[in-house]
């Protein structure tokens, strides 16, 4: 769920840039080190980024939304760690803004935080917890993908509610944003969880 250009007023868009910045800076630092050690990381990360972009620009059946990033990047988080994945999320979000008009430039900070950092971290945690608990792999993957999606949408609702608390205050505004976007985002999260589980099954099959 991309927040579009112009939607977040000052100072909120600046704040979200500042929140995302340390993750990205640390990610770039880690990336630099990793690429120096193993040069083949760069091309592999690049194709992973392209995959996330293409996956997220596919239209899901019956809904006007699109597959969001947390699951694609969640996979990246398992492979490369959450901070490098944040860098990947940043690049993909910039391309989405200028190629497909999804998202925007001032809202990049907020979107990077919700889709490039918060979501993947949840995916990563759920996946780790699931495998450690010895749960069914597909169920774990489904849960990781769906929860990451849901968490992204919750974070986005928080971001919107903070920017537009109205007269009802943060809690009221959050409830309102969360409720209205739930119409598209909750089914989307479930479908995406199912699809990612299918993909996982597909890959394991080979």
């Amino acid at each position: 769920m991309h927040i579009m250009e112009g939607f977040l007023p000052s100072p909120w868009w600046e704040i979200w840039f500042l929140v995302s910045l340390p993750f990205i800076v640390f990610g770039v630092y880690q990336l630099n080190r990793l690429v120096k050690e193993r040069r083949e990381t760069l091309p592999l990360l690049a194709v992973a980024g392209a995959f996330v972009f293409v996956l997220s620009s596919l239209k899901l059946p019956s809904f006007t939304g699109s597959c969001s990033h947390p699951t694609g990047t969640g996979l990246g988080a398992v492979l490369f760690g959450p901070c490098i994945t944040g860098v990947l999320g940043l690049i993909v979000l910039v391309f989405q803004a200028v190629f497909l008009a999804h998202g925007g430039i001032t809202t990049l900070g907020a979107n990077v935080f919700s889709m490039g950092i918060a979501g993947p971290v949840v995916a990563w945690l759920v996946y780790k917890a699931g495998t450690r608990a010895g749960a069914n792999t597909y169920a774990t993957v489904f849960a990781a993908a769906a929860l990451a999606d849901l968490f992204t949408y919750v974070v986005t609702s928080v971001q919107l509610a903070l920017a537009f608390p109205g007269t009802t205050g943060f809690v009221g505004a959050f409830t309102a944003f969360a409720a209205i976007f739930a119409v598209t985002q909750v089914p989307l999260a479930i479908i995406e969880g199912a699809i990612i589980a299918l993909v996982f099954k597909y890959i394991v099959h080979l």
Partner: protein, 258 residues
């Protein structure tokens, strides 16, 4: 499957203008929109950016009209919430039976946010439709963005176009075999597509590593070079325009429609 704004940017009427000037104009307009406290300045930006896109960059009007529809669903849902959570001011409309009402404050804020989104999106389209991404890489390089970030972005850029073609082809072949019929089959088809694409991605990655090795990769990627010279006149015009918008923004900041 998707029309990429990038493809139109290649043939636009402002292709030869220095990318940094276009980016300066676009980004500054966005900032003016978001920081404007009244709706007039963002609407002025929307109008002038649209004019530049249609008249100077010569983007087909029908295509541009369709672009303007992309943000509508998000904007509508967001605006509805803003309308109802902002409760102060005179009540304009009441929803019978529910504690929901639209007040003047809510309506004014909604109009302001809509204007900002409209102005911001038009400015974003201006950047996207006049400046191919390849020209931005050069600018990022000059702005001392870390090389590893630019390298990663350039490689990702290249492979987006390869994978999107492949995804389109796989999608077509599934449709021809009657995939995406009912809901259940749609989810199944999409899962297969994503899985097949993942395998293709993995193979592309391995091939890319090999291609780079075969060409003596030693950690350097070339950044496409772009001409960066700008005539004094166009720079002056751009600055004059931004100044005018700023003036409008400051003088109309307190203005309220309702």
């Amino acid at each position: 499957m998707h029309e990429m704004l990038e493809d139109l940017a290649r043939g636009n009427g402002l292709r030869e203008t220095a990318p940094w000037l276009k980016l300066l104009l676009g980004v500054a307009s966005i900032l003016l929109c978001v920081s404007s406290s009244g709706p007039i300045a963002p609407l002025l930006v929307a109008a002038s950016m649209s004019a530049a896109i249609l008249l100077l960059a010569k983007i087909p009007a029908r295509f541009y009209a369709r672009l303007l529809l992309i943000p509508v669903s998000f904007a509508v849902m967001g605006i509805i919430v803003i309308l109802f959570v902002t409760g102060s001011g005179t009540v304009l409309i009441e929803v019978p039976g529910l504690p929901l009402a639209v007040t003047t404050d809510g309506a004014n804020l909604a109009i302001l946010v809509l204007a900002r989104v409209f102005g911001g999106m038009c400015s974003l389209y201006f950047i996207a439709l006049t400046t191919p991404m390849t020209e931005v890489f050069d600018l990022l390089h000059r702005l001392r963005v870390p090389t590893v970030l630019i390298d990663l972005a350039m490689l990702t850029y290249r492979f987006i176009f390869i994978l999107i073609d492949e995804a389109g082809e796989i999608y077509r072949s599934q449709v021809m075999r009657l995939g995406y019929g009912r809901f259940r089959e749609s989810v199944n088809s999409l899962g297969m597509l994503a899985g097949a694409l993942f395998i293709r991605t993995w193979e592309s990655g391995e091939a890319l590593v090999m291609a780079m090795d075969a060409r003596c990769y030693d950690g350097v990627l070339a950044v496409p070079e772009e001409s960066q010279t700008v005539s004094g006149l166009s720079l002056a015009l751009a600055l004059a325009y931004l100044g005018a918008v700023l003036w409008v923004s400051l003088t109309t900041g307190g203005l309220r429609i309702l």
